[in-house]
Amino acid sequence: MSGLNLRALRKAFGPTEIISGVDLEIADGELVVFVGPSGCGKSTLLRLIAGLESVSAGEILIGGRDVTRVDPAKRGVAMVFQSYALFPHMTVRENMGFGMRVNRVPKVEAAERLERAAALLQLTELLDRKPAQLSGGQRQRVAIGRAIVRDPKVFLFDEPLSNLDAELRVQMRAELSALHARLGATMIYVTHDQVEAMTLADRIVVLRAGRVEQVGAPLQLYDDPDNLFVAGFLGSPRMNFLPAEVQPNGHLRPVGTEVDLPSPIPGLHPGGRVVIGCRPENVELGEGPLEATVKTVEQLGNSTFVHLTSAGTTIAAELHDRWATKGDATLRLTLPTAKTQLFDAETSLRIRG
């Protein structure tokens, strides 16, 4: 059993609290992605799990065993650092074999584990090279190989793709996914890139200011966010937000307009302030109750992003056709009621019917 449990975890550096109470359960074999804006504490959380930082309060359990005060080397974790942290003076073979050497693993077994990991990651030809002679992608694979060789219960990845260029990143994403399927191991992956989160994760943990905002499968978080933050974090371009006021008749009037839109949720308190959320791909242009002026058009070939001003705010629309009209054109748009979500303006929480 290699599940992971975090209970009421807190971490403060001096007077500043970085992690303010995190509870999490990760199942054996899951690939969980910690994602959030910079400073949200995702890397700190990872380092707490690794044991590189000590916990201020709370517990960490790996495979049912309390490891909160246990030495990092004895927790059964392996970590791939953002900078890979390969030992520059050692060959690939020595880098990968370092842990086994230090722990006095018998030579025969050590060689076997090394060969297997090298074969898995296509490193067999590079075993006698030094890190300086490798490309970025190769170094990353060595870092992963060093982790695999430890046969850990949990793999920890700290923004492993952020040092690679865009094309390589896409390729490595696919390789990491395949690796997870192959090994079936529990993996915790930290990134600030929501695309990586969406594509790799079994479940995503969205973090902000040291707290968990929401946990769930990628599409679940995308379709059914719990609050404004999660709704705005996943998806690019960001979900459109229109502050609105509930009218006596239950309709919603976007602030700064005289237009009434039907509400997806009946029975709202009149006078209440809400935020209407609608994803760019759901915005319909051409007809509708709202007036809009085109600001910029971004043509990407396979899709078009139109940025408009409407109801006193910017609205982004995503189309799958080419768009003929230039800037400054005026047109009408609709936010289809069935495809909008409502959030309480004060609490930022999602209003569910």
């Binding site: 044991g51 004895k74 942290a85 030992f87 520059p88 003076h89 842990g99 230090v102 890190p131 490798l134």
Partner: protein, 289 residues
């Protein structure tokens, strides 16, 4: 201003290059030139390599050479090892370290002659060190006047003054090692000792070598403590070659012999440094990744 680059190039470089040429490079050639002459009773005559021949048959020269080599054999590894220990302490992140770090830097502000004067009094038979040793019933020792102790006392004084300076270079080298490498080693299960031997020291090798070479260069030519404390004695036990050269040239007036000794010193130094650089060229790449 539209001066041609050449003019301004010459103007900016000339003062420094001239200075180095006249006052650093030229004296070396001059030393060799002077060593081909000897001055007896105010008369300067050309003797070719005669001074060097005389040195080879001079027992005093050989004794001085032995003292110099023995001195360097002990002091250089000692200073580098202690400077390393100092550097490892310096980078610890314990509460109150700021004060200790400042204290570690104190000997740098103290010049060698000042250190010599202070320690001379501290090392007196009636001085501070013997007093402190007296608490545990040891001594008193004649640190500077006994032929058995004198050289080691000088080694001690020079080390006390010198290692803080070398520590700075080693701290720089240590800080150049990314923290994540240490963390990765820790995660792999390496103990503090293993991390030091297998990771830190190999990566520190270029800096260590640099410090060793620079230190040897300085210690080979050490002069002030001998001049101020022992005058080469007692019984020649501290008569390093530099002092021997000084005596020849500035006490007995035989510049030729003095220069010959200086040339020998520099030649030996170059050989030692060349060996160090051969070792340095096989050092591992310092690129972190």
């Amino acid at each position: 201003m539209n001066r041609s680059p050449i003019t301004l190039l010459v103007l900016t470089l000339a003062p420094a290059l001239l200075g180095l040429a006249i006052f650093r490079a030229y004296p070396i050639g001059l030393a060799f030139y002077e060593s081909l002459y000897t001055t007896v009773a105010g008369e300067r005559t050309f003797v070719g390599l005669g001074n060097y021949a005389d040195l080879i048959t001079d027992a005093g020269f050989w004794k001085s050479l032995r003292v110099t080599l023995w001195f360097n054999l002990i002091i250089n590894p000692l200073q580098v090892a202690l400077a390393l220990a100092l550097a490892l302490m310096f980078v610890q992140k314990l509460p109150g370290m700021a004060v200790f770090r400042l204290l570690f830097l104190i000997p740098i502000g103290i010049s060698l002659p000042v250190a010599v004067i202070i320690w001379r009094i501290v090392l007196l038979p009636e001085g501070f060190l013997n007093g402190a040793l007296g608490i545990v019933g040891l001594g008193p020792y004649r640190f500077l006047t006994s032929p058995d102790f004198a050289l080691y006392s000088i080694i001690g004084i020079a080390t006390w003054k010198g290692i803080s300076y070398w520590m700075i270079f080693l701290v720089g080298g240590l800080q150049n090692i990314p923290q994540e490498i240490n963390e990765a080693a820790r995660l792999e299960g390496a103990s503090a000792w293993q991390r030091l031997w297998l990771v830190t020291l190999p990566l520190l090798r270029p800096t260590l070598l640099f410090v060793l070479v620079a230190d040897i260069t300085i210690n080979f030519l050490l002069f002030a403590p001998v001049f101020m404390l022992t005058g080469g004695g007692p019984r020649g036990s501290t008569n390093v070659l530099m002092y021997e050269a000084y005596k020849s040239g500035f006490v007995f007036g035989d510049m030729g012999r003095a220069m010959a000794i200086v040339v020998c010193l520099v030649a030996m130094l170059l050989v030692i440094v060349a060996i160090q650089f051969r070792l340095l060229s096989s050092a591992p790449s310092k690129e972190a990744c």
